[in-house]
């Protein structure tokens, strides 16, 4: 079954040892994302300088998919321009809908391990929680 590969090392590593799960005191933007279904609850904190995501972090609780997905997202977008980060976000959201090409998947690097979530409707909300929250911050900036 598809989700056999789901909880492999990349995902569990990001869940158990997230690099970006910490506070960020001088964040310019702080937004909470909630998935009432799973009880996932994350706070995304972003510092933007000159149109670029200079620093970002997340806090909160939730299932491994929501936590690992947020951590992988921050791996990808820290240091990127706002436009690039938004493009990544779109790419990820399309991947979850099963609409990306192989080369697009490569761009998502480790986050592409979540592509099989598209076969599990119940878990989609967990996977996209961090990404939706980031999108909301960037679009309203």
């Amino acid at each position: 079954m598809e989700n056999k590969t789901f909880y492999h090392e990349i995902l569990t590593d990001h869940n158990l040892h997230p690099a970006h799960k910490h506070d960020l005191h001088d964040a310019d933007y702080v937004l909470e994302g909630v998935n009432p279904n799973c009880g996932d609850d994350i706070w995304l904190k972003v510092k933007i300088n000159d149109g670029r995501i200079e620093q970002a972090s997340f806090l909160g609780d939730g299932c491994a998919i929501s936590q690992a997905s947020a951590d992988m997202m921050l791996d990808l977008v820290i240091g990127k321009t706002k436009e690039d980060a938004l493009r990544m976000t779109d790419l990820f959201l399309r991947m979850i809908q099963g609409e990306t090409t192989e080369s697009e998947l490569e761009e998502l690097e480790e986050a592409s391990v979540l592509q099989n979530v598209s076969h599990m409707p119940a878990r989609v909300k967990c996977a996209v929680l961090g990404w939706h929250t980031l999108k909301e911050i960037l679009e309203n900036e």
Partner: protein, 407 residues
Amino acid sequence: MKWSDKRRREEFPFFCYREEIYLDHAATSQRPQRVLDAERVFYEKQNANPFRGLYELGMEATDAYERARKTVQNFLHAQYAEEIIFTRNATESLNLVAYSFGCHFLKEGDEIIVSIMEHHSNLLPWQMVAEKTGAKLVFLECGADGTISKEQLDFAFTERTKLVAITHVSNVLGCQNPIEEVVRRAHECEAVVVLDAAQSIAHRPVDVVLLDVDFLAFSGHKMMGPMGIGVLYGKKKWLEQMPPFLRGGEMIESVSRTGATFAPLPHRLEAGTVNAAAAVGLEAAIHFIHEIGWEEIRSREEELTAYAMNQMEAIPEIHILGSKDPKNHSGILTFTVEGVHPHDVASILDADHIAVRAGHHCAQPLFAHLNIPSATRASLAFYNTKEEIDRFVDCLKPLRRKMGYGK
């Protein structure tokens, strides 16, 4: 044991088609062939709109539906057939009582007791009644194992108590509540008791006269009957005073331009075309339960629950909610795994074709009370097997390792 494992399984066509280990019986049971047949045969051979056709066939359909009502009456040991109202499910039954009884007979200053472990279906209707009438909602708390103590009862009941809405068996902890004691105290202050039997009805005999509850609700689909049929039992003296819940066809005697006179019970509370086929299916489920026998169901469920609990308790990071006694679980084993989110637990089990439920199980106040965000629930039926439990436990054992612990 009268029935072998194999014989029991053969009654359920589901297991011929699917290899799932189905451990979500508290959400909905599987259905034996004879229930499916009863429903199909109604449509094949007796189908007409009950109560409407003045022809032989229409009367046969009516008879089949009314016979199902009598079977439910006997099943619950109710005094009168008209005390049995068919609904869609337990949720509709509870809403019927809340709207037709609660909104009409409660007033400002009255108190409604609900237990903290109620399913949202037996909480939200009473929150609505409280809001509409100005009555006050009072929570009956429980201990960590689900026990409702004498002190908690002392605290909740007052001379203002007018209604108590309580579940017979918790859909999370599986524990059985002290209904006799609740009813005694309620009736002492002339309050009515609404019993949510959704989780008890498939596990033990229920006698509404012995229990002396005023209302009782359950769904057919959790007791091997079809989806889309539920029951509200109500004492005749209350049902007779209750205004219609829904209005339209079937529930009237005569209608003029400006008004209507309503049909007598039970039809007054069953507006519109009824789900006769599902009622007939429910009847078949009741006959099936009687054929197996309550004693067989109980002993088999207890055996399987004890078997599962023993093995789960041997895994240090697994914590089962509720009583330590397998007899007080009604086949429901809700648990947490240290460091692993319940939705991840369910997804990993799903990859091995094991169906369990994860989340707050429509009982958020209970989880807040227990200070647990959410949990995974495995719920058994008498037709599960020890081999299935073994496979379930085999999947639980490496779960934390799969999630990256201990590497």
